[in-house]
């Protein structure tokens, strides 16, 4: 997703790459193109207009940052405004709710409500160990009840359902589902609903009536990521009619250009909380505005990368690794682990795509392809664990043995060691900077801000003159 928008914006940004200051004409010209690019990526008409105006003000107004080049200025402004465009002020799930917590899903036909109800149920059970009940309140679409019941069976989630027929209406089913949730001591009730057009008065009244019956702690609008201009208008209508908590954006696994993701917060006043990234029940993620903004600007996404790596290595092991890293201890043993994790993360090119300044931090990994990675791994594997923990003790004969064992040259071994020591030094610097007190989360936050990443290490917190991120 987003590739097209990224390319278009990239082209415009390239024009600003020169070292000098930008003239107002250059800025205006560039912004006109940005607006077109946004419109062609399905960004809502008014949002595109407001967005470019805001960026323009930043670039031409007093908010300019002293001593920073034009290109950096532009990227910085875009990154901040893009993030601001999508950023919400609430967690993905409401806090301090009643028991059971009630979540209601609403939206247009075919947007993904039923699938998302099941996905969210699974997510809540797996991530938060909650006891979840699903309620089948779509009585319009043929076999919609059956669909949710089937999903419930597949995922071993309980479903409250009634056979559609005369006298069975959605508000009634919802109310009885809530009674069941209470008597069955469920933690959460998730209510699916029928798809509806925002101009369909009777159906809009129906969903409002469902909300009256169950008094949801959160109402989510489920929105298809491929949505165009009008569906965003309809999102606005939903937001006006229902007290929405947030948005769930679906089908982000496709190649939609991201217009809906970029517009919906400004149009509805509600931020995206979750993202559907596939048809399987496990294909649901929490949504991160900052990451998406970084990706749109093609500046890489360290945070995503780290998370992927985390999945690849075992959580606990990673925890220890980071603790060690923070203490400035970094051995070849760690390097091997990281390389393995890297390989599990998929095509290297993609991985490096997510690394903005990180390539610099670990000079070792720069300009490296899969083949090189495998060669390096072979060298590391040819060492004993003790050797990996104490690389400084490697003498000539050991190096020759290692080279022989991995089908490499002694010079390859030396090269690896050389890069490693440089890397170790950087790690130590980094850990000094963080004074051992920073949590992993904070470290990652700092790494995750590309603006700061670009001037590592000087740009680390405490350096005067840099604006605070929002």
């Amino acid at each position: 997703m987003l590739d097209n928008l990224t390319q278009r914006l990239g082209k415009v940004l390239d024009r600003f790459r020169g070292p000098g200051r930008l003239t107002p004409e250059q800025v205006q010209e560039g912004l006109r193109e940005v607006r077109r690019a946004l419109l062609e990526a399905d960004v809502h008409f008014q949002v595109a207009k407001n967005f470019t105006e805001r960026v323009g003000q930043r670039l031409l107004g007093d908010e300019r940052i002293q001593g920073v080049s034009g290109a950096q200025q532009v990227i910085h402004a875009f990154h901040q405004e893009l993030t601001a465009l999508m950023l919400g002020d609430r967690p993905a799930l409401p806090k301090n709710t009643r028991h059971p917590m009630v979540l209601l899903l609403a939206g247009l036909q075919g947007s993904g409500k039923t699938t998302t109800t099941a996905k969210l149920g699974l997510w809540l059970r797996q991530r938060q160990s909650r006891k979840v009940l699903l309620a089948a309140c779509d009585l319009q679409r043929p076999a919609a009840v059956e669909q949710l019941v089937t999903l419930g069976k597949q995922l071993e989630l309980d479903v409250y359902a009634e056979t559609p027929g005369p006298g069975v209406d959605a508000p009634g089913v919802a109310r009885r589902a809530l009674e069941r949730a209470r008597s069955g001591r469920y933690d959460i009730l998730l209510v699916d609903s029928a798809g509806r057009l925002h101009v369909d008065q009777p159906l809009m009244e129906e969903i409002a009536a469902v909300a009256v019956q169950v008094q949801p702690d959160a109402i989510y609008l489920v929105l298809d990521a491929m949505t165009g201009q009008d569906a965003l208008e309809s999102a606005k209508a939903f937001a006006e009619r229902l007290d929405l908590y947030g948005i769930i954006l679906t089908k982000l696994d496709g190649d939609a250009r991201g217009g809906a993701a970029l517009s919906v917060r400004e149009v509805t006043g509600k931020a995206v909380c979750f993202a559907g990234v596939g048809e399987k029940a496990s294909d649901l993620e929490e949504f991160h505005a900052e990451r998406l903004a970084s990706r749109i600007l093609d500046m890489g996404d360290v945070v995503s990368l780290v998370e992927k790596a985390q999945e690849a290595v075992e959580e606990e092991a990673a925890e220890q690794d980071y603790a060690r890293l923070l203490e400035g201890k970094f051995s070849l043993e760690d390097l091997l682990k990281q390389l393995r994790a890297l390989q599990k993360m998929g095509p290297l090119k993609k991985v490096f795509g997510m690394l903005p300044g990180a390539g610099r931090m670990s000079g070792l990994l720069e300009h490296m392809d899969e083949k090189e990675l495998r060669r390096m791994q072979a060298v590391l594997l040819s060492m004993t664990p003790r050797e990996r923990l104490h690389p400084d003790r490697l003498d000539g004969s050991r190096k020759r043995r290692i080279a022989r064992g991995s089908g490499a040259q002694v010079s390859d071994v030396n090269r690896l060691l050389h890069s490693f020591f440089a890397m170790q030094k950087q790690m130590k610097q980094l850990s000094r900077m963080l004074q051992g007190g920073a949590s992993r989360k904070r470290l990652m936050q700092q790494l995750g801000d590309p603006g700061r990443m670009n001037d590592l290490p000087g740009g680390f917190p405490g350096r005067p003159g840099r604006p605070k991120g929002r």
């Binding site: 075919g110 076999a143 019941v149 057009l197 496709g254 190649d255």
Partner: protein
């Protein structure tokens, strides 16, 4: 045939350009009217094509070929109608002998299954014998959904077990179509994003299996697009036409306020006719596409209260 439902809505509307121009007052400048035009085109999901149309309109105005902004509405109506094709004559012509096979494809949730049901009803109304195949073996209760629809229409359904190979279902359905000598076999398929190459290959295989059983099948492959989709619809059309020989489009969910302007880009780039539009969730909510009416609806603005 006309879009009865659309027409009904149209009677309460007027041309947005005319409206915008009137709002701007008597002596509207070229720049102002172009700005109004830009908003109208982009908010109707016309997309990148809007840039071209605007440049052309500007040339016409500045070159004096249009007497003034007042002539913009008619000019644009003409331009847009020329970009999208409807069916020439019968949208679903039948073969003189043997079943005509119609394959229905599209991304998730676009309206395929409902369109199959509506088409079955439409064909039956004109006296054709119809058989339906439940080619979505993936989504939960997809077969059940189609079974209910077929019951309402009164046509037979060929289905397999959940999770079965959809190509096998297609194979069985083709045999049944021959055995019962039906006029039309409608094949529903699972929703698939055009970016998933394995699923696109699966769709292609369904087509090939049908072709092995019935000569020339599928005779029509209709791509169902959701009118609320933005520019991604063009990408969908490109990728689906690469995977299977798409012969036309069905534009579903046009009963809301979405204009479906993305089909203009598809029409001008891929020359795919729009055969039907979906105008609601009931069986009778299907109508044959008509470019002029579509463009009128696209340019229509709700009458201010």
């Amino acid at each position: 045939m006309v879009f009865g439902k659309l027409r009904e809505g149209l009677s309460r509307t007027r041309n947005r350009i005319a409206h915008a121009l009137r709002r701007l007052g008597g002596d509207t400048s070229t720049a102002q009217s172009l700005e109004a035009l830009e908003e109208i085109l982009y908010t109707a999901d016309v997309g990148p094509l809007a840039g071209e149309l605007l440049a052309d309109a500007e040339k016409q105005l500045r070159g004096g070929r249009l007497a003034g902004p007042k002539e913009l509405p008619e000019y644009l109506r003409g331009r847009l109608s020329g970009l999208v094709q409807g069916p020439e004559g019968d949208p679903l012509p039948l073969r003189p002998k043997g079943p005509t096979v119609v394959l229905i494809a599209g991304v998730n949730g676009s309206g395929k299954t409902t369109s199959v049901a509506k088409l079955a009803a439409w064909l039956q109304r004109r006296g054709n014998r119809v058989l339906v195949a439940a080619g979505d073996t993936f989504r939960a209760a997809a077969v059940e959904q189609l079974r209910i629809w077929c019951g309402r229409v009164g046509v037979d359904l060929v289905a397999g077990a959940p999770g079965a190979d959809p190509a096998a279902v297609a194979h069985d359905a083709a045999e049944a179509a021959l055995r019962h000598a039906v006029d039309v076999l409608l094949v529903d398929t699972a929703g698939r994003l055009h970016t998933q190459s394995n699923l696109m290959a699966e769709l292609n295989k369904i087509g090939r299996v049908l072709g092995r059983k019935i000569e020339g099948a599928p005779h029509e492959t209709l791509l169902v697009l959701d009118a609320t989709t933005g520019q991604n619809a063009i990408q969908q059309a490109r990728r689906f036409t690469q995977a299977v020989p798409v012969t036309g489009l069905i534009l579903a969910k046009l009963d809301g306020t979405a204009k479906g302007g993305a089909v203009l880009g598809i029409g001008s780039e891929l020359k795919l006719p729009v055969k039907f539009v979906g105008l609601g969730e009931q069986l009778e909510d299907l109508e044959v596409f008509h470019p002029g009416e579509f463009v009128d609806a696209l340019l229509a603005a709700p009458q201010p209260a």
